[in-house]
Symmetry: C2
Amino acid sequence: MSSSSASALEIEIFQYIDAHQSDFIENLKEWVAVESDSVQPDLRKEVVRMMALAADRLAALGATVNLVNLGSHQLPDGQDLPLPPVILGELGKDPQNPTICFYGHVDVQPAKKEDGWNTDPYTLTEINGNLYGRGATDNKGPVLAWINAVETFRALKLVGNLWLSNKKPALTYGSRGNACFSVEVECGNKDLHSGTFGGIIHEPLMDLIALLDSLVDPTGRILIPGIYDSVAVLTEEERKLYESIEFDLEEHKNNSGVKKFLFGTKEEILLHLWRYPSLSIHGIEGAFHEPGIKTVIPAKVIGKFSIRQVPHMDLSVVKQQVVEHLEGVFSKRNSPNKLKVSMPLGAKPWLADVNDLSYKAARRAIKTVFGEDPDFIRDGSTIPVARMFQTITQKSVMMLPIGAADDGEHSQNEKISRHNYIEGTKLFAAFFLEISKLHRHLHETSHTETNN
Amino acid sequence: MSSSSASALEIEIFQYIDAHQSDFIENLKEWVAVESDSVQPDLRKEVVRMMALAADRLAALGATVNLVNLGSHQLPDGQDLPLPPVILGELGKDPQNPTICFYGHVDVQPAKKEDGWNTDPYTLTEINGNLYGRGATDNKGPVLAWINAVETFRALKLVGNLWLSNKKPALTYGSRGNACFSVEVECGNKDLHSGTFGGIIHEPLMDLIALLDSLVDPTGRILIPGIYDSVAVLTEEERKLYESIEFDLEEHKNNSGVKKFLFGTKEEILLHLWRYPSLSIHGIEGAFHEPGIKTVIPAKVIGKFSIRQVPHMDLSVVKQQVVEHLEGVFSKRNSPNKLKVSMPLGAKPWLADVNDLSYKAARRAIKTVFGEDPDFIRDGSTIPVARMFQTITQKSVMMLPIGAADDGEHSQNEKISRHNYIEGTKLFAAFFLEISKLHRHLHETSHTETNN
């Protein structure tokens, strides 16, 4: 798979990686087996165990490792839950060399066999060249690919998301934010029987459904007044950028399983995924959710929805608009119930400068390993830390995905292909080499310039 | 508590019952301990075990007991689940004596400690004279009260539902029906990530919420066209009947925990509970329902709601009206998703003739045990079997409740008070005596008449 443009050094590295595929996959299997689900409170200890495993692994590479305690966070029910620690690992300290900060996560979304998985989500299972398991692509696989790359360099005594298509590599320069909302409606402290109270009370679930129904129209347009006011205006230049991107609408539709998208062209779809906000409703807590029938009027229900916001929407303004809108809709219902709107999570969108050195290095590494230029893409989902890193370090942040579009992150039957995992490991190794080359070149150039 | 009008025989019976309170409560404790939840498929075996226990108990009274196999029913997921057997118990066969057919159920609604119970729902716990436990009032307690009454008669060698207020006894002569609906909206076979697909697909949960939001207006009025067409017209005479009923609106509101009802007068509340239809929404299956955040777009969601219908609404007409209404709302959304509306359960309303002999006997028994006349009431909830028995036997069916209005059937912290359980046992014993007296009187009268 390595292109003919690879150097002898690169070929040596890539051969080492090919020869150690089984080890790399065995490592991924061990990591996937840890149920590091960070949503369910009772699995928090598994997230902590996963962090310890990852720290050990970095230490084994020779890194100085610090586990930084982040304290605890409060659950909606008032319970205090310890946050998992963050690992700070450092490998080498020579100020003459460029520093690459790699970031990834090893916690995962909830997964249960009965959600519709074909295999046990926590047992990495290879079927037709795909490695199925929760976290395989999001994000344990890619984190291990970085570690594998570093391990390769050390073994040879030389010294890290998703592509847009299933085949073509990509570089990510922006992501949407995520403002998660919780809408609680309560009539009292106990559930009621629909025979004994049906028809004489304002049912909290009816109030909630009316509130949720007021958020988006059937064309996907958000109905919250003012929500589109700060969205960056689309320039003609930007629109052209979208035209050149390789994106198979049919393939994306097949990956999703849906029959029809809200929009018919590639450009509209990408614009609505990357640079326009969207609102999704996730579910309702407190109502009857099991199979079968239960003639209950739930006393307290909590609707969950989120807005993927984009530059230059302000989180506090969005929150205010949502609260005012919902309170307005609710007050028109004359309901005696209690309404509580909160935003338990607010993550900002992120946008990077694609002319930065790291983007050039990654582009070359991709060309070496995959033999073609990457697409410059944005991500519809949220990586809050990208924005945070950029703000704090004032350096360019880049996302270098190795998973494919059909990997099913956050969904049933999540996987990463063996090919993407192993070639991804090579890509990260090649990226190290390119950064090193570009840095030397830049250093020499700037040295010359200084001498002028 | 026995009124002064009790005969020597009645006093002997009541004293026996008082002396055996602890045994009767111990029996209820044993029954409550069985998790005979008929909603959750994996607890079906416990329902079957409960039926076997009840059968043993009847057999110990000397009854001939038959467990009748009812076959199985199909769950929405296609799974075939065996139905619990029905117990047919017969005690005595003398055609000269009147026959009383008693019916009750010993399966229960789901209950978990974490739903908000103060005690373990399956451990009968006495606090301040109340016996807390799932099934205590609905319907294991009342079933045992009948058995206790029969046991008392046998020990002395002599031979059910809820009151409207917390204190005054009642006789029930009607109940609403229950048409349970299931509305499924599906976009594909896997859940999607709201970052990767939010803003470009028709979310099934949004479709479902719009459908559910189209059912009822904020005043509680059902918006399905034609749904009120067959509701029996309220006569002036009927309205007057409602005026005389003892019903404490404040007390009922306190029992419910809600701040305000949809209507302000006793008559309006009772009319809307007993003789007008209501629609309640119970919940959504398939969406995110746990605490915390999950940025998922669920692929298949199933809304659950039910209509408590009244005479003379026809179930098949109601079903057709619901389906047509929902399909109409759905088609206006131009959604490519799949809609499936079904009515997994349809139970008819029931209305009895209050001038029947059994009503007279019960009225007298109540006067004897509680010293006052009962209210003649209807029940907002559904007892399908009342209607069925009436249709099949062509005899008058009566419900003789012993639980109080604040017992919390189908809710957290269900209970029956020790007082109601024990005095209820006496009531059933007194009822047997009254039936016997009235029958003898009727027999003598008709004999005389025949001789004329």
